[in-house]
Amino acid sequence: MIPPRRYSTFALLALLSAAAGCRDREIVTYRAPKDPAPAAQPATAPVAATGQLPDGHPPIGQSTNPGPMGAMPDGTAPTVAAGNALAWTAPAHWLPKPAGSVRKGSYNIPGDEGAVADLAITAFPGDTGGLFANVNRWRGQIGLPPLAQAELEASVQHLDVGAFHIDFVDLTGSGGNPPMRLLGAIVPHEGQTWFFKLTGPAPLVARELPAFREFLSTLKVR
């Protein structure tokens, strides 16, 4: 049995915690300074039937308020796939650089006469549009026209590394001297899609092709 006067202590503690809890359910009204005007006019009417965003609208699905700051050197966390599910071993001559807020991994690959290739490792939830859309997105990045659906299979190699199935593409741009070349690997893993994209001047990327394929073979679940 608790002495009756002891109840008052528990009641006080319960009241304090209840009061703290109630604050989270209170509708508040206040007057606040206006936010600066956005870059584009907000949409006041339904978006056009084309499904396109208004001019100047930032891409949808990117948070304007990224979450708590996880690690100082990585900055803040935007809406990317959760966690770092995959691990890899990169060749010693690839120079790691800060991954930033979107990339899961990032490397500079130095070549001759100051040439540099970039390896970006990113991951997003879902299939992010599927293989066809992503290959055409990459083609667009190096100035190639989009493929037709029927042509897709011919430009994709399928690799099996351990438990992973990797869709691998090797694209060389049409313009520039030297032209840009892109090696891309798409790795679906537990509801996420991981992208490994190496881009750089074609001769340098050609030199790094064996190293990149070797690098893909080191992929494993963390």
Partner: protein, 410 residues
């Protein structure tokens, strides 16, 4: 509060005649050292288990589950039933506080030789009270500033709010902020400051939002009830709740607005929508948004410059710093200051820590902490330190005196 508890326990203990056996056994329990040791062992186990569970739940959920609770609840698998399986931080801390205060009062005796112990105990009591106050009153949020940007508010780490903003005034907006906890109830809300009814049709604690033509997953998503705003062509895809410390759950909801004249539409709201959505009602422009909960301050902070220094020739960070300008609303303060690691800005009851950066070193993220009890741990540590110095000082002088006596005797 410590004084009130002291008085309370003193009056309780003063009820000696006629003290029943039951009361005496309670008194003996609450003043006993065994209880202290048992509680300290329980708290050790609690900290150990909570530290391990942080891998699964992250820092925020672990704090709520293990430390800011009276009991650690275990969810019976495949049911909604939660069972208490271990005492929580408030329970152990509360009992420890009562135990310390009781022992302190019961064994209190005036005299220099006991002053060290008394001081150290008082410090420990103050430390526990300080943690209780921190748990109940402290608020942590963050302020994200681009270079040149000025803000008068910080954003919550974990909570969101549904806001309806009346833009009709030329100077100030009138904001009605509905906390996420109410949105999650999925009910109709009528508020005196709103000329319409707000109905939450559906709510998800963590979502991704994509344009329907953006991905196969979005195209295949279930049709939404949205009739107005950007969400008409978008798909909201629910995701599993994340507990990781470097990620946050981004909620989404379908919200209907109904005026006395009839429905105005149903909007998709989520912090993932890049721009505000507005609608007209009775000649006024209203904005509807689900955003991170804002905490407004009576002063404005402007980021003048963010610096990210590296060791020469490497990418290894050396220092992060934000030069900011602080201007109070009443015009009494207008100054520049530099915030860097371990050198926070303390102003207006808030502490601003350098916490992160983004956008190629042009955006800073400051952690904003308001903790009215922040000074208590420092005072408590000084008291405990002094108490121990005094106590051991007495022992040391006693030892020297004995040795001198022994030496002079030989």
């Amino acid at each position: 509060m410590a004084i009130q508890l002291d008085c309370f326990v003193a009056s309780l203990l003063a009820m000696t005649p006629p003290m029943t056996d039951l009361l005496r056994s309670f008194r003996n329990l609450f003043v006993s050292l065994q209880l202290t040791v048992a509680l300290l062992i329980l708290s050790l186990i609690l900290v150990f288990v909570a530290t391990l569970d942080q891998v699964n739940l992250g820092i925020w959920a672990v704090q709520a589950k293990y430390f800011r609770s009276f009991a650690v609840l275990w969810n019976v698998p495949h049911t909604d039933i939660s069972l208490p399986v271990f005492p929580g931080g408030y329970f152990i801390g509360g009992l420890l506080l009562i135990n310390l205060v009781c022992a302190h009062v019961y064994r209190f005796s005036l005299g220099w030789r006991k002053s060290g112990i008394q001081l150290a105990h008082s410090g420990l009591i103050l430390l526990l009270v300080g943690e209780l106050l921190t748990g109940l009153l402290a608020k942590e949020s963050f302020m994200r500033l681009d270079q040149g940007e000025t803000k008068q508010y910080s954003d919550s780490f974990t909570y969101s709010e549904l806001v309806l903003i009346d833009h009709s005034d030329a100077e100030l907006d009138t904001v009605v902020a509905i906390p996420e906890a109410l949105v999650a109830d999925k009910k109709s809300i009528q508020h005196p400051r709103l000329p319409f009814q707000v109905t939450v049709k559906d709510y998800y604690p963590n979502v991704t939002v994509q344009m329907r033509n953006q991905s196969a997953a979005a195209a295949a998503a279930a049709p939404s009830p949205v009739t107005a705003g950007l969400g008409v062509q978008a798909a909201m895809i629910p995701l599993a709740i994340t507990y990781k410390p470097d990620e946050r759950n981004i909620p989404g909801a379908y919200v209907g607005i109904t005026s006395p004249e009839g429905p105005l539409g149903i909007w998709l709201v989520s912090p993932l929508l890049g721009l505000p959505q507005t609608f007209q009602h009775a000649g006024k422009t209203w904005e509807i948004a689900l955003r991170s909960q804002r905490h407004y301050k009576p002063f404005a902070v402007t980021l003048l410059k963010f610096s990210h220094d590296r060791y020469p020739g490497t990418e290894i960070p050396k220092n992060f710093s934000s030069r900011v300008r602080v201007r109070s609303d009443d015009g009494t303060e207008d100054r520049e200051t530099l915030i860097f690691m371990n050198n926070p800005l303390r102003y207006g009851g808030y502490t601003f820590y350098q916490a992160g950066f983004d956008n190629n070193d042009t955006t800073t993220v400051l952690q904003v902490v308001r903790n009215p009890g922040w000074v208590l741990p420092y005072v408590a540590c000084v008291m405990m330190g002094l108490g121990l110095i005094i106590q051991f000082g007495f022992s040391l002088t006693g030892f020297f005196r004995k040795r001198t006596a022994a030496t002079s005797g030989t």
